[in-house]
Structure formats: C-alpha cells, structure tokens
Symmetry: C2
Subunit: 352 residues, 2 copies
C-alpha cells in the first residue's frame, strides 16, 4: 500500500522481506533476506535515498545499521521503544500520557509483588514480541502467578492493571521535516480474539476534548523523537479520559480507511513525512469504516456489488491471518451503519 | 494507473509496450515488442484472463489476433472505429448523435466538392493516426485545398465543418458484462495547442438536459458494441445541444480526476467492466479539477504544499509530452477555482 501510494509521486521502491514471494513483490523489486543479514542490508540500502519499515519487529539494531548510511524514518530509537511494552509505557508516563497502572516484572518475585501492588485483575505481558493479543496472560488472583509466569516462558514482562475501559480509539498522525504535523480524526476500533475487526472513522461521539487529548498525546511522542512519518497510538477511553495503550511507529491497520475516507491517505503521508515533503490534508471525507478480512476471503463480486472498496494483500488464507480489508464510505453516520451491516454479513457468510 | 487501481482487487498485470522501459514497467512485468509482432503477442497473452489497452493506436488486427484466444475488452471492432475519424462520425450519425457536418475525402476532387458542399471554414483531418491536434489543416477558402491535401500526405481524409462551439465537455462511462452502466458526471475541458490542459469536474453550469444528452450518447455506443470497460466521448456544446466530436474506447485523460474526485476511479471501473465485475459508484465527491503537466515538471514540494495530488508518469520531459497531472479537490466551486489558480501558477512558473 506504501508503494501504490508512492508511484504517482514519482517514487521508486525496493522491498526487503524475509519471506519468499512477499505481497509487495508483485509491484516492486523484492530482496529476500533475514532482517539481521547485514550483508543483505548493505546491498539492499545501496542507492536508496531513505529507508522505512511497515513491520514493527524489524530489529532496531538492523535499522541502526542502515541508519549509519541512509536515513531511516521513523528513527531506530522509537522503533526500539515500540518493541518493548515497558519502555512504551515508561515513555507514555514521561510525557504525561495517562496509562493503566503497570509494573516491571523480571522474575517471579517481582510478579507477586506487582500483583499485590496493583491489586484486582491484571494482565501479564511479555515486554517484547507480542502482537495481535499474543504473549499475554490474565491474572485474577495471586495463585495465577506461577502458571502465568511459566506460560510466558519466564521472559521479561510487564504487569498491567485491567481497567474497565469503555472503548478503544486510535489516532494516526504524520510529522515531516521541520515539524509540521497532520492529525487524522480519531477512530473507534473493535476487536475480536485479539484482532482488529472494524474501525469507524471518525469515531462516533467524539468531543473536542477527546480530540485534543488524542492530538496532545500524539504530538508529545512525535516531538520527543523529531519524528518523520506516520505514528499510530491506541488509546482507551474511560470517563472522558484517554489512556495510552500502545503505539506503532508505522502505518497502522486502524488507518487503512484513509485510502478512500481521507483527502490524503496515511500511506501517502507516511512517504511525504519520511521524505521531508509537505504533508497532505488528513481531513475525513464523509464517514468511513474499515472491516478486516481475517482467515478467509468473501466473494469479490458480492463485496463490490455491496459498494465495498476491496483491498487484498496477496496472502495465502490461513486462520487468524489478515488477508485484506474492505472500506465503505457514506455521507452520513446512519448510511455508514447500514453499509457496515451489509459488508459484515458477507464476511460472516464467507467464514461459516 | 490501471495497475495501481487493480492490485488492491487482487489482480495481476503484465504490460506490452513497443518502447524500452515503459512507465508501467516500474510496477508490473513488461514485455518489449511491436504491437504487430504476433509471436510476441502469443507469448504475452499466454496465461492472461483478459487483455485490454490504454492506447488507441494498437492495431485492430493485433487486438483481433489476441481475441481469438483471450477476451479483449473493449472489442477490437470499436477500437477500429475509434482509429478512423470517418467511421467514428458515421457511428455517431447512425446513433442519432449530432455532429458537425462532415464528408469523406479520398482525393483532391472529393475535397473541392466537400468544401463547396459544407461551405464556410472547415477542417481537413486524416482519417487515421491523428491525436492531440495532429494531422489537421484548416481550410478557409477553396484555394487552401491543394495545399491542405498535400500537407496531409494525400491520405484518406474527412472534411469537417468548423462550428463556433461554446465549450467542450466530455463524458466517461463504464459498462460491465450483463449491461450495467455507470456514468461519471460530464466535465468541461480546456485545450491549448491541441493538448488538454484542464478538466473541471463536474462541468460548471450542467443542466439535467445536458447530462441526459451526454448519457444518451454514451449509452448508445456502449449498447451497440456490447461494451465492457470505460468509454470516453468528447462533446461540443452549442445552444444547449451536445455534438459528438470523437470517442476513446479506453480510460481517458479527462477522467483522471476520478482517482481522488469520484467514489470509484475510471481505472478501477475499467478493470471491473473488463472483468465482468460489478461497477463502483461513479459519483463525484465534491468538486475536482485535473491540470495536465506538459513538457516540463513543476517543483514537487510546491505542488504538494499547494494541496495538489501529484501524478507523475515516469516519462522523460520533452516539449509537448504529457508527463503527469495534478488533481485538486474542493468542497465548493469557488474553492476549486482558487485551487486551480494556485496550481496553474506553479505550472506556468515551471514552464518559463
């Protein structure tokens, strides 16, 4: 999706992916190599003006290796923070972004202490490697701790308080060289089985105060890291307050609606930011929703007949795998709700 | 632009172009071959589900050769009509689409007869090969005829009455298998030196009657040829009547605004039509204009800072060559006029 957004601006692309036949290889030259293969990285970066990533588990040291020769945006430093749930929460705290209570857990003793301090239900998460709901165990009572600690492989962890949040929002923001920032309207996200299923843009019932909080949080991170490109922050809402859950220093699934739903897509603005070009207008055009296609694919003809904008990623179907998404757009929130219903019905059909 | 529109729908592309390093070769495998190299066509079509064209001078016989093995849309028959100005005008006439008066000219005698019949200023055009204002000579008096006939190489020609039209409009329409048709709103086109410079979408001061005429004309051609894909018709307006000037059986420069300005782009609807998939909503989203980049390129940073959506075609700059276009979008006609001014100023700057 980055390459598709960049070709019209005259950009050329080269892709590095450890997997054979990567989806982006359809539309740009692809190098197959492990992310820590430094010789492959050297060959890959040769002739590039800038390097970016759209996958958060690229080793920060590999990004640093490249950054010694070619600019890498967003910076390897923020990439490294995003790979460590504890560093992420510490960053939120240092920027006055509210979070659920959390504690560092390096061993079983620190876990029992943390459970006692935080009290009530909590969730133990590995600091690294987790995504889409993986690497997490819920802890209701102190007796759960041994089990939980072993389930996660006795790895460095973070214990987080479980708060009864009302909903999840996210904000996508772009920053370019010189400091200009563009904020997309916050969206409302719905998950199932740890996977994002639906984003509604803009989020229903947004108040100016919620927008201000979300933009404040995004701006704080962007400015701290002299950021270039797209940043996404997942936020939880409770009693009118937005809590930082996690952030992603990359284009984000909850921003895919911007291809049709915003004046400039997150993909184009990521490229503009990374290249130091002026950002495009992030305003929403009407009402949009993004429905993920997970595990199985619906019938193309039915999706198009129902007014969906189809985006397939060229991946082999596999349970739990994000294979694509559908965007619907409408001129009113009521029409959007009808369109979401129509598309969701097709997807549930495909899955049964 | 077709490939960029098709990848999200899961399509794969292969391009045939007689030129080395074709622009589309950046993003799809390209075969370099002449259009009449039948062995190359055989290799090219092998494994294709459908073949289409975005260049009108592909020999109709080459398209027919392919069509014996793989569906070709639009059909080679309509392609052949589009390559012959006389056949084109005859088609308009047979479908009750008004045209300026015209006459077939095969030799100098037929030319002098035609000039006498049509009277007043007229224009002699070669029947084949002309585009962007080439292959045309204006005739004011009978004494111009010898000169004109020789200037055009004594080739088969058509003489057309010069009518003092008020403006040029065009309509883009898509048709898919089964007969569904989608009409984009007619746009107003402005030329200079025979080249399209600016399209305004929707055309200002459209009446329902003008829209009805444009849609009638498009529908007549689409249905006559059991058409699949995008058709463009250039129309001249005079005293509330739309005259057919020429048509193009392909995506058209005056429809490039649809990428940002319509719910579904002409490129996506061409692919849907060609593949027999349901068409997408052709409605305009607000007001849009497309400004062509001809001969030289403006500064990318300035274009983006001015709110332009930049589309570069990856071609070497050369006088008179279409190198790309810029689309601007606005929520009112007044805002659009301001945006056109701003972008036009940048382009004139680049040209001086």
């Amino acid at each position: 999706m980055l390459a598709l957004a960049g070709y019209p601006m005259g950009l050329q692309f080269r892709v590095l992916d450890p997997g054979v036949d990567p989806p982006a290889g359809e539309m740009a030259p692809a190098v197959t190599a492990q992310f820590d293969d430094l010789m492959a990285l050297d060959a890959f970066m040769d002739g590039c003006d800038v390097v970016t990533f759209e996958f958060e588990q690229v080793p920060a040291d590999s990004a640093r290796h490249i950054a010694r020769h070619v600019p890498v945006h967003p910076s390897p430093d923020i990439l490294e923070v995003a790979q460590d749930r504890l560093a992420e929460k510490d960053l939120f705290a240092s920027l006055d972004i509210p979070t659920a209570r959390f504690a560092r857990v390096d061993d079983h003793r620190m876990l029992t202490d943390a459970v006692a301090t935080i009290g009530g239900p909590s969730i133990l998460k590995t600091r690294g490697g987790g995504y889409d709901g993986k690497g997490q165990v819920r802890i209701a009572t102190e007796s759960d701790t041994v089990h939980a600690w072993e389930d996660l492989g006795a790895a460095p962890c973070i214990l987080e308080e479980v708060v009864d949040f009302e909903r999840e929002l996210s904000i996508i923001a772009a920053r370019t060289e010189g400091g200009d920032i563009a904020f997309y309207p916050p969206v409302e996200n719905h998950h199932r089985d740890g996977l994002l299923r639906l984003s509604i843009a803009p989020a229903p019932d947004l108040t100016q105060d919620l927008v201000d909080q979300a933009e404040h949080h995004a701006r704080a991170i962007l400015e701290r890291y002299d950021y270039q490109g797209i940043l996404a922050i997942e936020l939880f809402e409770k009693n009118g307050v937005l809590f930082g859950n996690e952030f992603a220093p990359r284009v984000h699934n909850s921003g895919h609606w911007t291809i049709e739903g915003a004046e400039t897509s997150q993909f184009e603005n990521h490229l503009r930011g990374v290249l130091g070009l002026p950002l495009g207008d992030p305003s929403a055009r009407g009402y949009a929703a993004m429905v993920n296609l997970i595990g199985t694919l619906p019938d193309t003809t039915e999706v198009l007949a129902a007014g969906g904008h189809l985006h397939l990623y060229g991946k082999e179907p596999r349970p739990g795998r994000k294979l694509g998404h559908i965007t619907v757009r409408a001129d009113s929130a009521a029409d959007l709700a009808v369109a979401i219903e129509r598309i969701s019905a097709l997807i549930d059909q495909g899955r049964s």
